[in-house]
């Protein structure tokens, strides 16, 4: 029995479908995609560009409407609730951290805006410490921060909102190697200390192996393989997964 799977599910997506139409042409971005994210679990979603990974996150968060399927947070049915309500349960961290902050706002104002209650400077301070950031950066605007600092601030903002689930959309792909390592370290800390559930989208299977418990492999809007990360990486069953892993190994060489 899979020990991770036994964990209580905090997020379930069942048979999600999404079609984008442009005149007579259409693209099935998601076709019958199902997943379950356990409490304190890190679930990786891998696949090449255009496989539907980001659409999956945006559909779950309500930023993109779905054509069919169900979304549940715990036992609560969330389908069709919209992103404003979904925001209570989950938060999204985007690929381009700088563009996820209003260029006119200081970091503090952006973080303050994400909170739903009274402003709590002590909590922000502890999150800033967790992210290994200088508190002085709170008064700066996103243009004055590096990509890595911005991404760590985005994590702080997501955590400050109080959501129990994080949806991370390629959050390290725009960063240099040292910033990537810092983000990975924070995610590991979050896993160990806070029991946060994370849906981690990446095209970097090596990174997913380091961070995640389980992985979901997507191709052209379908889930082609799912399982414990070690099982999938060491013994991929689907030819596409094998190709993806082989390509990742070639790149690492």
């Amino acid at each position: 029995m899979n020990p991770v799977r036994r964990k209580k599910s905090v997020l379930r997506a069942e048979h999600l479908s999404k079609r984008f139409t442009d005149g007579k042409r259409y693209t099935d971005a998601l076709s019958d995609v199902s997943l379950s994210l356990g409490e304190g679990e890190f679930l990786g979603v891998v696949g090449e560009s255009g496989s539907g990974k980001s659409t999956l996150l945006r559909a779950i968060s309500g930023l993109v409407s779905i054509d069919a399927g169900e979304i549940l947070c715990g036992t609560e049915r969330m389908t069709g609730r919209g992103p404003r309500e979904m925001g209570h349960k989950l938060q999204m961290i985007f690929q381009d951290a700088k563009s996820s902050f209003d260029p006119r706002f200081s970091m503090e104002r952006s973080i303050r805006e994400s909170g739903r209650g009274e402003w709590d400077p002590a909590q922000v301070r502890s999150l800033i410490d967790l992210a290994g950031l200088d508190p002085g950066l709170l008064s700066r605007k996103p243009t004055a921060l590096s990509g890595g600092q911005c991404q760590r601030m985005a994590i702080v903002r997501a955590l400050y909102s109080g959501a129990g689930i994080l949806l991370c959309d390629e959050i390290t792909s725009a960063l240099d190697v040292s910033s990537q390592a810092q983000i990975v370290a924070i995610l590991r800390k979050l896993k160990a200390q806070r029991g946060l559930s994370v849906l981690f989208v990446s095209h970097d299977i090596a990174l997913v192996r380091v961070v995640c418990d389980r992985v979901l492999v997507m191709k052209e809007g379908h889930v082609v393989e799912e399982g414990l990360i070690a099982d999938v990486v060491d013994d991929p069953q689907d030819p596409y997964t094998r190709e993806l892993i082989a390509s990742a190994r070639r790149q690492s060489l």
Binding site: S61, M92, S110
Partner: protein, 269 residues
Amino acid sequence: MRRRLKTRILITGAAAGIILLAVIFAGVIAPNDPYTTNALAIRKAPCADYPFGTDNLGRCVLSRVLYGGRTTIAATFFLVFLSFLAGTFIGMICGTCGGWADRLLMRIADILLSFPQMVVAIAVAGILNGGMKGAMIALGITMWVSFARLARSHTMSIRQEAYISSAILAGKSRLNIICTHIFPNLLAPLFTNALTQVGTTMIGLSGLSFLGLGVIPPTAEWGSMISEARAYIQIAPWAVLAPAAVTILTIVVFNYLGDLVMEYRETQG
């Protein structure tokens, strides 16, 4: 490069400031009453008493240029401001709501853009029997379009930004997002457009006055001054040259300032 650009903006901005101060304080600076006629000083060449000479009725051209600037510049700024407000509001509605409202308003904008602006303005001003109010309405009918199209395209592009998605997930309402994120981020490009529109509007207003469709004499206004004085340009060229020169100078200064600010924003990335 950016430093040089900043210096040029400061110098051009200072020139624009001087023009504005000169017309605002026309009552203090003007050496004579702009409306007092003097039968003994008809078409007098520039001299100590009348630095820009006098016109056909013996009125001080410099004083009329300064007071005329009040009319021209105040009407221009008011019209640009109103167009800015109307166009931005319409553009934000189109960019935020989309759907039939967007299609309808943008088709109206397309129809208005399909006619030359001045032709529409002359026709409308003619129907409204001239006057400054009529001239402003005539130009305002098409002026909001550039602001609306700019506001719409920027709104649509800002809506795609991740910080808007973050604000939505933070539970912010649509109105809150428009007021705190979209509108403030639109201001810079719209302000640049407003600066470049100042020159165009001034040409339009002065043009209508020149054609007798703007201010009603004896009110001093640059376009109507040129129109009145062109009849005796060979006898008293100063009466045409002075208002023509300040019109050109003001248009050049504001257009150049708009271009510089646009360039500065582009270098900011």
